[in-house]
């Protein structure tokens, strides 16, 4: 009977009876798939570099502490103080809260710059990756740029200098119209580093849990085996 039930369900869900879900990535048919790798320490460090250079003037990381970042990303004390924190009044146990406040942000850009600590968990890693790559020139927008993933986004295209400019073709595709300081591949890799870093910031413990989880599971595998043998002995009595 159970087999019949499973068969019935499979036929029901496998047929394209139900309409597909709407795209998460705005006017794009689907997001560019990207799964962050938080175990590549150098990538996380590079991602932090991209973040500090291109994101941190507006976006805070309000749930991440400097010293947690230092410990997890293996950053020397002097570099943390002199090149990252900069302000001597900020302690290393403080949260990574940066310059642009909500009032200024709303006045200058029309919206507050959201905190990015949990952004990859809110939107998903693929979404963030796709979003970063989908800016284009749009003269109708106040700041001259728009984004395919989030139409009417208030965020200016701060990545144009490294990516180069993109425009929207008549068919709705993005076409590159000028070169940036990075090649396409380098830019792609930088954005991957950045998403990796953001995924780390969203959940600093992820590196540990993905590394050590296997031991917990192994423990229970052994536990199950021992208990199975024990139970086999007991159940002989009642055969």
């Amino acid at each position: 009977m159970i087999r019949g039930l499973i068969f019935l369900l499979l036929t029901f869900f496998s047929g394209k009876l139900l309409p597909a879900g709407e795209s998460e990535c705005g006017s794009l048919e689907s997001c560019l798939e990207y799964k962050a790798d938080v175990h590549d320490l150098y990538s996380l460090q590079r991602g932090l570099g991209v973040y500090m250079n291109y994101c941190s003037s507006c976006h805070s990381l309000q749930y991440l502490r400097w010293n947690r970042l230092q410990r997890d990303l293996d950053i020397p004390e002097t570099i943390l103080q002199d090149d990252l924190i900069l302000n001597p009044e900020i302690k290393s146990s403080d949260y990574m809260i940066f310059g642009l406040n909500e009032g200024d942000s709303t006045a200058w850009l029309g919206a507050s710059a959201p905190d990015l600590t949990l952004r990859t968990r809110v939107r998903g890693e693929s979404w963030v990756y796709t979003y970063l790559k989908s800016f284009y020139e749009d003269a109708s927008r106040p700041l001259g740029s728009n984004n395919l993933v989030l139409q009417g986004s208030s965020m200016p295209n701060v990545l144009a200098s490294i990516q180069g400019n993109q425009q929207l073709s008549d068919k709705g595709f993005l076409v590159k119209v000028s070169e940036g300081s990075l090649t396409d591949e380098q830019f792609d890799n930088s954005m991957k580093d950045l998403v990796n870093f953001l995924a780390y910031a969203a959940e600093p413990i992820r590196r540990d849990r993905e590394k050590n989880g296997i031991f917990v599971i192994l423990f229970f595998v052994i536990f199950t085996a021992v208990m199975w043998l024990l139970n086999r002995e007991y159940s002989k009595d009642i055969k």
């Binding site: 009977m1 039930l5 369900l9 968990r121 809110v122 007991y234 009642i238």
Partner: protein
């Protein structure tokens, strides 16, 4: 040493009946020798209940139950509290596991007639536990104070507001404010950590006492009490301890392998255990694009949404009718013992209509669950309406088909 122990136990037993109860509920309590895998879910439910209580206590030590502090305190637990992340993931995964096990446990009950005379009260206490678990899950879901916490709670609370005449006042009374706010959060916290868990513990005790009074069932629906050996132990039975306790341990091990695989490698459960919008703090000015319940409420939420029509001449809006049908979908489970008129307990010996009924019931429950997590459109609403019908029909028609269908002869022994 042995003598000393004996006199010590005698001293205790004269004042508090430890030995008597151990024998009654563990070492001399007979349970059927042969059962199938469906019979493990009760033990696993006890385990997960303990996991929830213990992790819950630790979360409570660091959680802040205010509108301003709730969301940040969860991130504090995730980042600054030693192993706080583990407690939190175990608790959130535990909630999903709890429902998963509960649904299988109840489905087992339906399949093998674990509600039939004289087990009506075991089933009733169990149904109350499902109801309490749903309340507990809902209350707990609000506590992280994320976007989905806030807006899903709004949807559910507005259902009370849809009740004619008393609705709006009732909603304000439950919320403790004119809108869902910090006042609601702190009372939900109190209910989640004290009131509902206490009631659940009481009902678990009732559930097990009632079960031990009437005896555990088996997939054959055979009454094992009929044939006993010279010591009074049923021939097809064995003492609960050590035989059942040790047979449960490997199953508990396997359960924890799966449980911790999720906790460590996929705590978000693909967005079904921890929903994406809930990583954003509640904002009462910004409604999420698509409000979806967690998967375990999805079947019932689907029923709620499937009712797109009211009864205008009675002054019943579609929302209120939806609420009634939604409540009925849970309430109907309570009366199942009195709907089933079959002479046999187990689906194995019941007739073809019972078998078709069970398949339809399970299939519609899963379909409703699937639809409940998706945004609505016309086709989906239609399928949800049909599924709602097939959720109720097998139960409503039960008194007829179980009475007249042809059943097979139940064997005498297991």
């Amino acid at each position: 040493m042995g003598e000393q122990n004996k006199s010590f136990m005698n001293w205790i037993d004269k004042r508090f009946p430890v030995t008597e109860n151990l024998e009654r509920h563990l070492t001399k309590h007979p349970v059927p020798k042969k059962v199938n895998f469906f019979y493990i879910f009760g033990a696993l439910l006890m385990v997960i209940f303990m996991v929830q209580v213990i992790t819950g206590i630790w979360l409570m030590m660091f959680y802040t139950n205010t509108e301003e502090g709730a969301f940040a305190s969860v991130e504090y637990i995730m980042r600054d509290v030693e192993y706080g992340w583990l407690m939190r993931y175990m608790h959130s995964t535990g909630a999903s596991a709890f429902f998963f096990l509960m649904y299988f446990h109840m489905f087992r009950g339906l399949l093998y007639g674990s509600y039939q005379k004289p087990k009506e009260l075991v089933w009733l206490f169990g149904c109350f536990l499902l109801f309490l678990l749903m309340a507990e899950g809902f209350l707990g879901y609000v506590l992280p104070w994320g976007q989905m916490s806030y807006w899903a709670a709004n949807v559910i609370l507005s259902l009370f507001g849809a009740i004619p005449v008393i609705g709006p006042d009732l909603q304000v009374w439950i919320q403790g404010d004119y809108v869902l706010s910090g006042a609601t959060l702190s009372r939900f916290f109190a209910l989640h950590v004290v009131v509902v868990p206490l009631l659940m513990i009481a009902l678990v005790v009732f559930h097990i006492f009632a079960l031990h009074e009437v005896g555990a069932g088996n997939p054959e629906g055979v009454d094992i009490e009929k044939h006993r050996d010279e010591n009074g132990m049923p021939l097809d039975g064995a003492p609960f301890h050590p035989y059942k306790t040790f047979s449960a341990l490997p199953a508990i091990g396997i359960f924890f392998v799966i449980f911790f695989a999720i906790v460590f490698f996929a705590p978000e459960g693909g967005g079904y255990f921890l929903e994406k919008p809930n990583f954003e703090e509640a904002d009462f000015l910004k409604t999420p694009e698509h409000i979806a319940p967690v998967w375990y409420y999805a079947p019932f939420y689907s029923i709620l949404r499937a009712i797109t029509f009211g009864i205008p001449f009675l002054g019943i809006t579609s929302k209120f009718l939806g609420f009634i049908i939604f409540a009925a979908s849970i309430a109907i489970l309570f009366v199942v013992p009195w709907l089933d008129r079959s002479k046999v307990q187990s689906i194995r010996y019941k007739g073809i209509y019972s078998k078709i009924g069970m398949i339809l019931f399970a299939a519609s429950f899963i379909t409703l669950g699937y639809l409940g997590t998706k945004p609505v459109n016309e086709l989906r609403t239609l399928i949800a309406q049909i599924s709602t019908l097939f959720y109720f029909l097998p139960l409503l028609l039960m008194p007829i088909y179980t009475k007249y269908e042809k059943t097979l002869e139940v064997p005498d022994r297991l």
